[in-house]
Symmetry: C2
Subunit: 150 residues, 2 copies
DNA sequence: CAAAAATAGTTCAACTATTTAACTATTAAA
DNA sequence: TTTAATAGTTAAATAGTTGAACTATTTTTG
């Protein structure tokens, strides 16, 4: 690929990626739940998927400091969506899991989210969306490797 | 597309999009300039590209409140990268432009950004990256329309 | 034309997210 | 058994955000 073409691609990528992220985040907050921030939603979603996990794991996955996780988790605990349980064998460890209320909230919200994302996905062909997500996943792997080699 | 396939695509999209965003933002802050946040960088980049613009325009484009723009612009003004100029004809309007220092910073940084993004882009085929960005741009247009109809 | 409405931007209070450093408690290693 | 390392929290500082109230200007309109 020649330099000129690369520069054009970079410009297009930079112009679009940040704005899409912002608008998608606003959409979630707006349409899904006024009281839930984007970060809190993705945190909750990750914990739900993993069933249980620790602050350290979340900090590593989300690429933030452990104290940032503590702060956000405090808010989710205050809302009654997350509970903390100490490991009886290694009493330093605290497990984070969804409460019953958290599970209910998640199931209810997941329907809304799916409807919202589905209405977007429908505007693309199956082939288009499949290759988009594949590239996204490849990008995620590359960024992950990059992070690990530093 | 049948329901099952759609749900899988949604799961994959949600799993990957937030993390990529986070990691890309961290990368910019880390590799490019410790003192520049991701938001500030994209704000500066937009102003640079438009040559000059107003808070109202930025608020609309970035999908945030005008007072958020004021706050961020204050920080960029404090850093000496952005200057405010009042419109002489309509004295309510304030134009935001890059200072000389802002321009220098941008040119210097753009080289680093390009190198960084290029090293990522090189891991993809031209066809792959082209169709990825096209889909991204289409998504941006759809989100924009969605916002306007609300 | 003067009062009312609209527009551009700022300020302020409240909140969320984040980092860094210092800290507690616990476990593992020397 | 002292020393390291690990897991997590707390506290202070900074950034980003919203919404409401505000100032200063046009624009509209009765």
């Amino acid at each position: 690929m020649q330099r000129e073409k690369i520069n054009v691609l970079i410009e297009r990528y930079l112009s679009v990626s940040f704005l899409v992220t912002k608008k998608a985040a606003a959409l979630v907050k707006c349409e899904i739940d006024e009281d839930m921030t984007n970060d809190q939603y993705y945190l909750l979603r990750y914990v739900k998927k993993r069933e249980t996990c620790t602050s350290t794991e979340l900090a590593s996955v989300f690429g933030v400091n452990k104290s940032a996780i503590t702060a956000m988790m405090n808010r989710l605990v205050d809302k009654g969506l997350i509970q903390r349980t100490r490991d009886e064998n290694d009493r330093r460890v605290v497990y984070l899991t969804l409460t019953e209320k958290g599970n209910e909230w998640f199931v209810k919200t997941e329907e809304k989210i799916h409807k919202l994302v589905e209405s977007l996905i429908m505007k693309f062909s199956e082939q288009e969306i499949e290759s988009f997500i594949q590239t996204y996943e490849k990008l995620a792997r590359i960024l992950q490797e990059l992070e690990e080699t530093q």
